[in-house]
């Protein structure tokens, strides 16, 4: 058995995880999120500098939790893309250094495949086929997933404009709520009436693509609603607007995810990404999956957001599938599309 060290630095979280044979043995997470608050979002240079400071302590912390030492590490897996280039460089450089120093194989993996793998650490291997909804600040995607490392990952749909998490951040700006917008809107919505404002459910019309996502128009509808009230000198009911907006996002996401399961005759829905931590998204998914006879798998919040354990999980699958390791010249690929979990040596297309 091989202990795999996973490294994730694609955005503002420095994540390290240690996985062996599908079991998470230790992990560590260092976030530079607080340093980005005053900018209303992640600033690449700040994130990259924070990764440089955090990466080695995070590796040591994860090893300590696992009761292991560097000498026990048998392989390294690292997020090589997509993400912020300057941030990715830090993790990839660290991974190459560890792989060289320890003389162990290196795997360059796709960030989104890591998200899909995160759930296997708590709920065991995925079934033969599942639909994965990845919903975060940078992504809103539906994937059709089989064997995570042997089969191609089929990208069913992506947002055509803003990601759902981005809409949360921008609506938070409009409502005068802090960054990051997701938790702020979730908290504000708790005391609000979700049917106070009938915000649109984007791309749910008869002629719209059944699995397509678009959140730009919804964001604008909220901005317009707030402006109209503000211009009239009326009070802006932040809680009601937050709850109504959150309901529109959750309703749209879950509707489309269930439609994808039906369309592809899949019985399991996996939801991951930062927005999967949203209380209304989770509740609505539970309610509708139960009603529709679908198995719902949502990892705990700390595995929903970016982390190193999910990258170690993919690395572990690659090691066990006897995949060829990456060379030490493997580049970062900030805007790589998702087709295979392994970015350096994808299996040959049939």
């Amino acid at each position: 058995m091989t202990l795999v060290l996973g490294i994730e630095t694609s955005c503002d979280e420095t994540g390290v995880g240690l996985v062996e044979d599908g079991v998470l043995l230790g992990d560590a997470l260092s976030s530079s999120m607080l340093e980005h608050v005053r900018f209303g979002g992640v600033v690449p240079e700040i994130a990259a500098r924070a990764h440089v400071q955090a990466i080695v302590p995070a590796v040591h912390e994860a090893l300590a939790k696992a009761g292991a030492t560097l000498a026990d590490v048998g392989a390294i897996a690292v997020t090589a893309g997509p993400g912020l280039a300057t941030a990715l460089h830090v993790g990839v450089a660290a991974a190459k250094a560890y792989a060289t120093a320890l003389s162990v194989p290196l795997y360059a993996v796709h960030h989104l495949a890591g998200h899909a793998a995160a759930d296997t650490l708590v709920h065991g291997p995925l079934p033969a086929k599942s639909v994965v909804l990845i919903v975060s600040g940078g992504h809103t995607s539906l994937l059709l997933v089989g064997d995570l490392v042997a089969d191609p990952i089929v990208h069913l749909s992506d947002t055509v404009d803003d990601a759902a998490g981005e809409a949360f951040d921008k609506v938070a700006r409009v409502l005068g709520l802090p960054y990051p917008g997701g938790p702020a809107i979730d908290a504000a919505a708790a005391s609000g009436n979700a049917s106070a404002v009938a915000f649109p459910r984007p791309l749910t019309g008869r002629n719209d693509p059944p699995l397509g996502f678009s959140f730009s128009g919804l964001k604008t509808a909220v901005a317009r609603h707030v402006e109209t009230l503000a211009r009239a000198g009326a009070p802006v009911p932040v809680a009601d607007i937050a709850a109504s907006f959150q309901e529109a996002v959750a309703d749209t996401l879950i509707r489309k995810a269930i439609a994808a399961c039906r369309l592809h005759e899949v019985g399991t829905l996996v939801i991951v990404g930062g927005v999967a931590a949203n209380s209304r998204v989770r509740a609505l998914a539970q309610e509708r999956c139960a009603a529709g006879g679908l198995e719902l798998r949502v990892p705990p919040p700390r595995l929903c957001t970016d982390n190193g354990a999910m990258i170690a999980a993919i690395g572990d699958l690659l090691v066990r599938a006897k995949a060829a390791p990456a060379t030490l010249t493997v580049p970062v690929r900030p805007s790589v599309q998702l087709r295979w979990a392994d970015l350096e040596h994808p299996p040959q297309e049939l």
Binding site: H36, F39, G40, G41, V42, V43, P44, E45, P82, G83, L84, A85, T86, H89, G137, G138, D158, T159, V160, D161, D162, A163, G165, E166, D169, K170, R173, V174, L175, G176, L177, A188, S191, G192, N193, A196, S216, G217, K219, T220, A223, R224, V226, E227, T228, A230, R231, P235, V236, P237, V238, A239, D240, A242, P334, S335
Partner: protein, 181 residues
């Protein structure tokens, strides 16, 4: 109405409550639908050269990304042009000229644009910068500034095309003529 956090207006110009009444700096175009916004972008995309800089202004939801989607169309970009907010910049290499699409909302200065380590240089690409007003002008002597605005109570947008230097004024006129054909 339920009680909740008290609303305080956002610090930046994320929304428009009052529009500053400054005279138009260039041609003003009415854009009744998002399709019209994209059509304007496409007409502009067809007259662009390598090295061009376009700076987009306007509040959230004014159509900055939609206009850039049209510019991408006009350049022959086939992959989806989506919001660059999360990654700060997206590079589209498959068109007639590379398209660099930037959201400068979180950039502290122009140095940070270099730090993004983009795959192409400004000279060999078309650079479109959202939220770049007041900062991106220094990137080039000649640039096109487009300010987008939303109407109060309808989906109608307006775009003011403000040509600075070079042959921008002539090319804007050419694009606007093409748009009406």
């Amino acid at each position: 109405m339920t009680m909740g956090p008290r609303w305080r207006p956002p610090a930046r110009t994320d929304i428009r409550i009052v529009e500053a009444d400054r005279g138009d700096a260039g041609p003003r175009v009415e854009l009744p639908t998002a399709t019209d916004t994209r059509a304007l972008g496409r007409a502009l995309g067809e007259v662009l050269h390598a090295g061009d800089l376009i700076i987009l202004g306007g509040p959230l939801g004014a159509g900055k990304t939609a206009l850039t989607q049209g510019i991408g169309d006009g350049l022959g970009v086939t992959t989806g042009v989506v919001s660059p907010t999360f990654v700060i910049a997206r590079v589209h290499l498959e068109g007639r000229i590379p398209l660099v699409h930037v959201d400068a909302y979180r950039l502290g200065g122009l140095g940070e644009l270099d730090d993004l380590d983009l795959d192409v240089s400004q000279d060999e690409s078309v650079t479109v910068i959202e939220w770049g007003a007041g900062m991106a002008e220094a990137l080039s002597d000649a640039y096109l500034r487009i300010d987008l605005a939303r109407a109060d109570d309808s989906d109608v947008r307006t775009a003011v095309l403000d040509a600075h230097g070079g042959d921008w004024a002539a090319r804007v006129a050419e694009a606007l003529r093409a748009r009406h054909v």
